[in-house]
């Protein structure tokens, strides 16, 4: 029996390798990034020729995964929860086409927004698309579920979602690895040549097929070894615990047995029969969900005229934020232990740009230029440079979603609010900025777009950027005039020069692009260390 110490993310990756994966597709996003990184670093994966390089965004990634599934091979897609929004188009339609080779979508949600801009719950997406969800409560389950997910996907010919949250993704535990590794599938395209042609006539038939599969999926949930009904003597309350919430429930019963019946849910669609059993037997129900109150809302119903349902909606638990043992203990009416209060002198220590970060030099120059205009003109994006919103920079005014800097600046400029400046990272630009730039070019909107090129996807921990070496040619290809694509070096010694370039381009009444180019220092150090190590090993 081989036991490895793995992050939840890594357990998923290792399981996929063991389950005969042929390719994994995704875009970096905390807390999902380590899944693909693990496969990229795995010698075993390399030996099996599993493809694993980063896609430009979640939509392109998911479509490529679907394409691999079309050929009969097993494929996987990963993203953070907000990445599901980017991939929503192929996601919804892949439920209609169904799959050929097993296809598993991993969405890593971030309740409490440790590294995110919202706490949307990806289970809504899967329920909406009518595909099964697996929601592991621990690393071992995550490992085992990937095998099950591929089987389920091929049995029902549907994509399957595996939904995790931060505390599982970024928590390590010993995981028992299977010895019998599955071979990859051979190429064999779908038997039905119309399966992937979503003309309305085909789509209507396919959708009916999807609807017809629902009873079978629910039966799978009912018989799933991941869903359990654990009886309890005290029927005044029944507890439904989904995914990770089950751990927090059990943490409150390390010394004693939980007196109430428990329904542990880790596979969806929700097995009605199990829920009904609890509803019939118990006087009231407490629903514990790590994320939004999806299940609780369904159970309660619009009129809420049945038995008492407690959870996030009635204030028994907080509506927002992740759960923890104390929150769950209190919801059960237990006395929970407490530590000391945080002394009042403790100051927050927010993240900030690293010492010597190229973005800092760019912001210094930009701030000097923008001081000539009224406030609120810098539309920024998602990445390390978002930290430019904090002191001492206070350099940006918006951060909404990947790529929104360019298009929001465009809208503001078209409202007559000029100059309008967009600030976007290199990787974010190729993720979702290029189409916005095309809109600007087509309308010849006066905007200045600053593409911060540190040659890496930095915020998520130095992943390869698809923009590297291509930014000028992309901009030119889209139609930005060559003389208005300016490259600067964000260093103190070039400050005045950089200020001048920015001033010139901001004054230009059309689309201009300024590219401050200097490597991310974290990445540079990492690269140097690795090179040194390689050298040492060669010696």
């Amino acid at each position: 029996m081989e036991k490895l110490l793995l992050l939840g993310d890594e357990a998923i990756a290792q399981a996929a390798i063991d389950a005969g994966l042929s390719g994994i597709f995704g875009y970096p996003g905390t807390p999902s990034t380590e899944i693909i990184e693990y496969i990229q670093a795995s010698k075993e994966a390399k030996g099996k020729n599993i493809r694993s390089s980063w896609a430009s965004n979640e939509k392109t990634a998911m479509e490529a995964a679907l394409g691999m599934s079309y050929t009969g091979k097993r494929a996987m897609f990963t993203c953070k929860h907000v990445g599901m929004n980017v991939a929503a188009d192929p996601f919804m339609n892949s439920a209609i086409t169904g799959v050929n080779g097993g296809l598993v979508y991993i969405s890593a949600d971030d309740p409490s927004m440790h590294s995110s801009q919202d706490e949307q719950d990806s289970r809504y997406y899967a329920l909406w698309a009518k595909i099964p969800i697996l929601e592991p409560s621990n690393q071992q389950e995550a490992y085992d579920m990937i095998h099950e997910a591929f089987e389920l996907s091929e049995k029902f010919r549907l994509p399957v979602m595996l939904r995790i949250t931060t505390r599982l993704a970024h928590s390590r535990a010993g995981v028992v690895i299977r010895k019998d590794k599955r071979e990859q599938n051979q190429i064999a395209i779908p038997e039905n040549p119309k399966q992937f042609i979503l003309l309305p006539v085909n789509a209507r038939r396919q959708y009916k097929e999807l609807l017809a599969k629902q009873d079978g999926l629910e039966l799978e949930s009912k018989n799933s070894s991941f869903n359990k009904y654990i009886d309890g003597e005290n029927k005044s309350l029944g507890v439904i615990a989904c995914g990770l919430a089950y751990n927090y429930l059990m943490e409150n019963f390390t010394q004693t047995k939980c007196p109430y019946p428990i329904l542990k849910i880790a596979q969806y669609p929700i097995p009605t029969e199990m829920v009904n059993k609890m509803y019939q037997e118990c006087d009231s129900i407490l629903v514990l969900e790590e994320g939004q109150p999806l299940f609780e809302e369904k159970l309660k119903g619009f009129l809420n005229n049945g038995k008492k349902i407690m959870g996030r909606l009635d204030g028994t638990l907080t509506v927002d934020g992740e759960l923890n043992p104390a929150k769950v203990g209190k919801a059960l009416g237990l006395e929970v232990s407490e530590g000391f209060e945080v002394p009042s002198i403790v100051a927050p220590r927010p993240p900030k740009l690293c010492e010597g970060c190229p973005h800092a030099d760019t912001y210094k120059a930009l701030n000097e230029v923008m001081a000539d205009f009224s406030k609120g003109r810098v539309f920024a994006d998602i990445g390390c440079y978002t930290l430019g919103a904090l002191p001492p920079y206070n350099a940006i005014n918006t951060t909404v979603d990947m790529g929104a800097s360019i298009t929001m600046a465009k809208g503001a400029s078209e409202a007559g609010f000029q100059p309008a400046v967009a600030v976007i990272g290199d990787s974010t630009f190729t993720h979702s900025g290029m189409t916005g730039l095309l809109d600007c070019v087509v309308d010849n909107t006066p905007v200045t777009i600053i593409i911060l090129d540190n040659s890496i996807t930095a915020m998520t921990g130095s992943q390869k950027s698809n923009a590297t070496g291509r930014i000028e040619s992309i901009c030119e290809g889209i139609g930005v005039a060559k003389e208005h694509i300016r490259v600067i070096t964000p260093l103190k010694k070039f400050h005045q020069e950089n200020v001048n370039v920015l001033k010139e381009e901001i004054a230009y009444q059309g689309v201009s692009v300024v590219i401050p180019r200097r490597e991310c220092l974290v990445w540079l150090n990492k690269k140097r260390k690795e090179e040194k190590q390689k050298q040492k090993q060669q010696e």
């Binding site: 927090y248 407490e338 002198i345 190590q533």
Partner: protein, 193 residues
């Protein structure tokens, strides 16, 4: 046996590698373990923490429940205070380096910070930076603090040394020994108390 530890500091100070070493040692001893950590945005000069739970029985929660942490192990004194709500008020230990890492404009007075740490019933506050520096290993502060905490960890120091060897082995013998020496020097501090 169960032991719950919070390891904390500021991004880049080695709190997470300390966690990895204890985990490795625990796994070697056949213990159950769970270790939750912070990744992503917070690592850019912000506060980082890791919840590390070891037990001879299966562990339910990845997070340590409030008031049940046995040891807060910190490479920075104000960061140790941030996690006091997790500490077991009666039996918990705070073991921390005494030198502030100041990268914010409103860092409180050092004396006030140390006074707050000393209010905790069981604490070891010492100049781990200096010990590491004297050993010629200025980056070894985290190992010195781990050494001091090893007395209360219920893990043999030999196991930790082996874990250091396993973790840093590929970086060469020199790096391994520098870290083991830092660990031993930290342990001496705790043994003298």
């Amino acid at each position: 046996m169960k032991i719950d530890i919070i390891l904390c500091g500021v991004g880049g100070m080695g709190a997470l590698s300390t966690a990895a070493i204890i985990s490795q040692a625990a796994l070697d001893m056949g213990l159950y373990m769970k270790q939750a950590e912070t990744h992503g945005m917070a690592q850019r000069g912000g506060d980082v923490q890791s919840h590390l739970r070891l037990s001879d029985k299966e562990i339910a929660s990845d997070l340590i429940p409030d008031g049940q942490c046995d040891i807060i192990l910190s490479v920075e004194p104000m960061e140790a205070l941030r996690y006091l709500p997790y500490l077991n008020k009666e039996e918990g230990w705070v073991i921390t380096n005494e030198n502030p890492f100041i990268n914010i404009p409103n860092y409180p007075e050092k004396e006030e910070v140390l006074a707050e740490v000393k209010k905790v019933k069981n604490s070891i506050v010492f100049n781990a930076d200096k010990i590491a520096l004297d050993l010629g290993n200025p980056k070894g502060t985290n190992m010195v603090v781990l050494g001091a905490a090893s007395k209360y960890l219920k893990i043999d120091i030999e196991k930790l040394e082996k874990a250091i060897n396993d973790t840093f082995g590929r970086k060469g013998e020199e790096v391994v020994m520098a870290n083991i020496n830092a660990l031993r020097a930290g342990r001496e501090v705790a043994d003298k108390i």
